[in-house]
């Protein structure tokens, strides 16, 4: 008996050692490369940090004061929010519609094929495929202009070079690239709804629209919440297509915050200033996520 107790004691020790030795390296990496940078970005933003100078001068809130009167920064904030709002709304709407359409296809039919095709663009290297899109959108020799001229419309639209069009082009390219994820997740959500529910509703004489708003949408709420939170976070980080195609131009019309932070930090060597931008973005996102949690809280529970 006593041997058993002793052995148990050793096992507990083994368990604790296991937990400790597994967590320690992981926590260390998370601390150094994730948590520390968050704190560090606030610190850097209080300095006039420049990689060339060894003792950067402390400037307090000066970077923030300058930022709030910096037209380019304010424009990049409004660009980013506009981009996220339009893209997320379009993404959720389109993804739901496409998923509903695919869900109607019988399982024996080409359902799998549709799923495969819509997911295809997400596998493409963004930098490479963005450059391909750049050629497609070229106003002179691009295929998009070519298609319009075949249709008899002679639009010489400069999709990426016109301040009014560039954002729409980036939104479209980004949606094309990325919507497959959400289609698959929404489709999985749809498929997890028991068919029974639909059948009983149809027996009771409800039409398709009523079924969608009465049954499908409420049962999809959890999936939609997950999808919208993930999409919002990922769209705040859109960087590559803009960087590859326009570098924020023309005249800052497509400058998203990520690009602005990158350009200031690594092209103009204004690390402190760019950190200020990052901190403001973090604060905005914090407010946004808190609001989101408050808004959606009740839906999590049922």
């Amino acid at each position: 008996m006593s041997g058993g107790v002793a052995r148990r004691g050793v096992r507990w020790g083994g368990r604790q050692r296991f937990v400790l030795f597994s967590l320690l390296p992981v926590f260390l990496l998370l601390a150094v490369f994730v948590v520390l940078p968050i704190v560090f970005s606030v610190v850097v933003s209080l300095f006039n940090y420049n990689p060339l100078s060894h003792s950067p001068p402390f400037v307090g809130l000066q970077n923030y004061r300058n930022l709030f009167s910096d037209g380019v920064f304010l424009r990049s904030i409004s660009n980013t929010f506009l981009f996220v709002a339009v893209s997320v709304a379009a993404n959720l709407l389109l993804a739901t519609l496409v998923a509903l359409a695919i869900d109607l296809v019988p399982r024996q039919g080409p359902k799998g094929l549709f799923r495969t095709v819509f997911f295809l663009p997400t596998t493409a290297n963004i930098a490479a495929i963005a450059i391909v899109w750049g050629y497609m959108l070229n106003p002179r020799f691009g295929i998009v202009a070519g298609l319009f001229s075949i249709l008899g419309v002679n639009l010489q639209l400069n999709w990426l070079g016109d301040q009014k069009l560039v954002m729409a082009s980036i939104v479209t390219l980004n949606l094309w690239q990325d919507i497959g994820y959400n289609i698959i997740i929404v489709l999985a959500g749809l498929e997890s709804i028991p068919r029974m529910f639909y059948e009983s509703a149809l027996v009771e004489g409800a039409n398709r629209v009523r079924v969608f708003f009465g049954i499908t949408l409420p049962l999809l709420a959890r999936t939609m919440l997950f999808v919208s939170v993930m999409t919002i976070i990922s769209y705040f980080q859109v960087f590559t297509p803009v960087m590859v195609l326009t570098r924020g131009g023309p005249n800052h019309a497509s400058e998203l915050l990520g690009v602005s932070i990158y350009l200031n930090a690594f092209q103009f060597s204004r690390l402190g200033y760019a950190s200020g931008m990052a901190v403001i973005l973090m604060a905005l996102l914090l407010v946004l996520s808190l609001a989101q949690m408050k808004l959606f809280k009740p839906k999590w529970d049922y």
Binding site: F27, I38, F40, I126, M243, F266, S275, V279
Partner: protein, 255 residues
Amino acid sequence: MVAVFPFLWMVLSSFKTNREILLTVPPTFLPAAFYTGGYLKVLFDAPFFRWMLNSLFIGVTTTAAVVFTSALVGYIYAKFQFFGKRTSFAIILLTLMIPFEVIMIPEFLIVSGLGLLNSLSGIIVPSLVSAFGIFMCRQFCESVPGELLDAGRIDGASELGIFLRIIVPEITPAMSALTIFTFMGSWNNYVWPLIVINDQVKMPVSLAISYFNGAHMVHPSYVMAAAVLIVLPVLAVYLVFQRQFVEGLALSGIK
């Protein structure tokens, strides 16, 4: 149709000459002649194989580390009690909400301080662990019955043995989904290598594409060929493993 068209156009254009791409207005779909000069240029006049190897190396090491650490830590969060468990998990979840652009400057300073700038390690080391992976694996480990683990303990298995022989087989679907997403994320990552790498020979493929797409944009044929060579391998892998892709993604969304 819309989903596939850019791929199709990319492949067709890669067999056109520079002149044909730039000067045919309006453009034609099919190349006038089957031109392979773009591919030859990309494969043999540039360190393209080296770039592929760089990307492959970064992708494989990152993915192996992320999948292993995520499964291990996810398992510990699901099945063990320890001091600071709730708080540390809340912090891990919180970091999921932080976009990369917020931390990229301090990350750069830290990696630079560690002397890892302009090296493949500089790309790999910061992404050895993934908050998302830990979260996802924890969700899956929670559904593994505790009796299974106790049975293993009674049989005298070590804790690591229990993890490897009982947990890993149970959460294989989650791990393969995580493998796919981590590798694709690494293969497609652009901003971090852009910050870390200066040397041409150390670039991963995402940066390599801009090598052909220089300031003057006069070699679209090379660019298209390079794009095909970068995009199609991943596409092929996807077509082979599409069931795992789609199911893994669906799982991560439902859980």
